[in-house]
Symmetry: C3
Subunit: 322 residues, 3 copies
Amino acid sequence: MDFSLGELAVKFGCDLVGDPKTRISFSSTLISAKQGDLSFYSNVFYLKQLESTAASAVVIKPSDLKHCPVDALLTDDPHIIFSKIVALLNPLPTFEPSIDASASISKKAIISNSAFVGALCFIGDGVKIGENVYIGPGCIIDGHIKIGSNSRLIANVTVVNKVAIGKETMIHPGSVIGSDGFGNMKTEKGWLKIHQIGGVKIGNDVEIGSNTTIDRGSLDDTEIHDGVRLDNQIQIGHNVCIGEHTAVAASAAIAGSAIIGKRCMIAGQVGLVGHIEICDDVRINGGSVVTKSIKKPGVYSGSFAADEDKVWKKLVAKIRRL
Amino acid sequence: MDFSLGELAVKFGCDLVGDPKTRISFSSTLISAKQGDLSFYSNVFYLKQLESTAASAVVIKPSDLKHCPVDALLTDDPHIIFSKIVALLNPLPTFEPSIDASASISKKAIISNSAFVGALCFIGDGVKIGENVYIGPGCIIDGHIKIGSNSRLIANVTVVNKVAIGKETMIHPGSVIGSDGFGNMKTEKGWLKIHQIGGVKIGNDVEIGSNTTIDRGSLDDTEIHDGVRLDNQIQIGHNVCIGEHTAVAASAAIAGSAIIGKRCMIAGQVGLVGHIEICDDVRINGGSVVTKSIKKPGVYSGSFAADEDKVWKKLVAKIRRL
Amino acid sequence: MDFSLGELAVKFGCDLVGDPKTRISFSSTLISAKQGDLSFYSNVFYLKQLESTAASAVVIKPSDLKHCPVDALLTDDPHIIFSKIVALLNPLPTFEPSIDASASISKKAIISNSAFVGALCFIGDGVKIGENVYIGPGCIIDGHIKIGSNSRLIANVTVVNKVAIGKETMIHPGSVIGSDGFGNMKTEKGWLKIHQIGGVKIGNDVEIGSNTTIDRGSLDDTEIHDGVRLDNQIQIGHNVCIGEHTAVAASAAIAGSAIIGKRCMIAGQVGLVGHIEICDDVRINGGSVVTKSIKKPGVYSGSFAADEDKVWKKLVAKIRRL
C-alpha cells in the first residue's frame, strides 16, 4: 500500500513542505530510512540522524523544520501522527474466511461464516466464534468459549474452560486463558485442590501479549475490562479484576482477587499480593512489590536501582548495622 | 449434578438448619448466588453480602448462624466443607477412552486402553501412557516419557526428553517439562554448551500451573516430589529437588541444583539462587531473593513494600547517604 | 555410542591412569555412577563421593589423583574435558530428512531437502528453512521467516511475522519469537496500538530456552547476536539488542530498546528498564533492577538477601525511621 505525501497531509491535517506527489510506501527510523520511506523526528537526541536521513519525508514539528533536509509533514504531535500513518501503511493482515482442512473442529462449535480458523487449530464443543474473527495456526479453544467479532488470536493461543472474549481483542502466541487458579487448602494429608469453577471475562479492544497467563476465577469470574493492555509473560491470578484502559508491562504478577482500577500503569516485574485494591489512575514503577491497597491516585515505587557491586555491598552492610 | 441439602449434611457431617429437600446444583459466592446455589461464610468482611444473599443455603459456623437469612449447613470449618462440596458438584470432566484421529501417534508408543489422547497431540517413540490418563488437545510428548495412571495434561503441554510423571498429577497448558537446563561453559571462543542428559521425575498428586518450565537435569534428574503444587510461570532449573507437599506461587524462579524441603511455602516472584538448600517447613514471602541455605524452619522475607514515589525516593536518598 | 578410556585419553590429550581398554558408554555424577560410567571431580565438597564412586573412571586433576579409587583421566580442567566427553557420548539426536505427513506446509515455503519437519508443524507462506534444520513437532512458523542451516527448534516453538534465525541455533519449547512489541500511545479514548512492523534478527550459535519471548522491533529489528545464551522465561522487548556471547539467566526481563554489550552475564530475575545501554563485560547479579546505563565493565547488584522475617521487619522499621 502506498500514498502520496499530499494524500497523507490532507488525511492527517498536516502542512506539507515539499512535493505533494512524493510516494510514501514504508515507515522507518531516521537512520534506517531509504527512498520512499517516511520517518519522524521529535527528540533532539536524534538530531544528527535527522540531518543525514535518506527518508523521502519526515513528520516533524514546525519549530524543527529548519533541521530537516527532506520533505516534511508539519504537526505538533509527530509521534502520534507518524503512528497513525504507520497503521495506515501497515494494516493488520487481511484473510479469506475459511477453516483450514487440518483443523479439528467439533460439530457442536458455532463458527461465523466470516471467520478464519487456521491450520492445526482445535475448536471444541460449545465454542462460539463471531464475525471476522481470526484464529491463527495452532490455537486450542476447548470449553465454553465465546470470541467476539473482529478479535484475533495470532497463533498457538490456548483458551480453556469458560471464557468470554470481547470484540476487537488481540491475543498473542503462547498465552493461556482460563486455566485453573492456584486454589489449595492445607489438610493433614497435604494440599486439597479447590476445584476452580469460575471463568474469565475479557472486554473489547484488549491486547494480551505472548506467554501471558490469565486464570479462571475460583467461583466468580476473573475480569479484564475494555481497552486493557497486557504485555508478555504476565501472570493474572484467579478473580483478579483489571479496570478499563489499564496497561501492565511485561513479567508483572498479579495475585488472586486483586482489584485494579482504571487507567493504571503497572511497570515491568511489579508484583501485587492478593486481595488488595488499587484505585484508578495509579502508576507503579518497575520491580515494586505492592502489599497494601492503594487508595490515592499517584506514582508508587519500591525498588532500588542497581549499583556497582562494591558500593551496593557497603551500603547493605551499613543498613544491616542500623 | 445436584444434591439435596439433606444429602450434603449427612455426607459432610454438618448440622442442617432449614429444609433438607432444598436442591443444590451450583456453588457460588454470597454476592453472585442465585436460587439453587450453595455459598459459604467465614469472614466478617462479607457480613453484608451474607445478610442479602440469594443463595439457597450457606455453609457457616454455628456462631454466625444468627446473621444467615437462608438455610444453613453448620460446621466449624466452612471453607473446607464448602470446597469439598464444590468438588462434589463439579467433578473433573469425564472422558471416553479414545485416541483422536487427528493425533500423531508413534507405533512405538504404549498407550493404555483406558487413556484419552485428544486432537492434534503428538505421542513419540518410547512414550508410555498409563490407565485413565487424559492428554488434552495439542500436547506434544516426545522422548522417553512415562505418565502414571489418572494423570491429566489439560492441553498444549510439552514434555520432552526423559520424564517420568506419577499418578493423579495434573499439568496445565503451556507448561514445558524436560527441556535442556542452562548449562554453558566459558571458553575463549564463547560459550560451550554442556549437553544435558538427565531427566525429570515428577511424583504423584502433583499440580503444575500454566506456562511453568521444569528443566531436565544436567546428569542426574530434576525431582518434584509427591503432593507438590506449582503455580503458573514458575521456572525450575536443572537438578532442583522440591520436597513433598511444598507449594510454590506464580512467577517464582528456582535456580539449578537448589534443594527445597517438605511442606515449604514459597510465595510469588521469589528467586532462589542455585546450589542452596532450604530445610522443611520454610515459608518465604513474596519477591524475596534467597541467596543462602536456610537451615531453620520459619518465615523469611527480603522485599520492601512499595510506597508513594516521593516518600520512597526520600527514603532511598537517606539510605544512600548512610 | 561408547569409547575406550584409551581413545578418550588420546582424543582429549589427557594422561591415563589405569586400563586403556576400559569401556565408557555413559557420563554420570560421582554418586550415581555405575560400571561403564565416566564421572569427574573438581570440588572438594564431593571428596567423599569420589572416594566411594562406582564409576569406571574419573576425569580429575593430577593433584587429586591420590583420592581416586578407580581409573583416571588426568587434566587441569576436569569440568571442561568432562563436558566435552559428555557431548561426544551424547550427541544431539540425528534425524532423517523428511516432512511429516501431519504437518501443514504452504506451497510457497522453501524447505531444504536435508531438513526435518516434525508432526503437526505449520510452515506458512514465505518461510525458508535451510540445510539440516530440525523443526520438532508442533512448531508454528508463520511469516517471512528464515532459518539458517543446522538450527534446531525442539518442539512447540512459535515464530511469527519477520524473523531471521542464523545457523547452529537452538530454540526450546514454548518460546515465541517475533510477536508484537508493547507499543501503545495514550489518547483521550484510551490506548492507540502502535503497529509493530520490525522483525527479529537472531545470530549463529544462539541458544534460547523454554517459554522465552522475543518481540519484533517497532520499526527496526530486535537483535540477538552470535553466541548469545538465553535461559527460560526471559522477556526481550522490541528493539532490544544483545551483543555477542552475552548470557541471560531465567526470568530476566529486558525492556524495549535496551542495548546490551558483549560477554555480559545477566543473572536470574534481573530487570532492565528500556532505552538504556549496558557496555561490554558487565555482570549483573540476581534480582537487580537496572535503571541507568552502565558504562564501565564490572559487577553490579541491587537486591537484598532474604532474612528471617523478624530480623527483616526490624530492619525495615529502622530504615523507615531514618
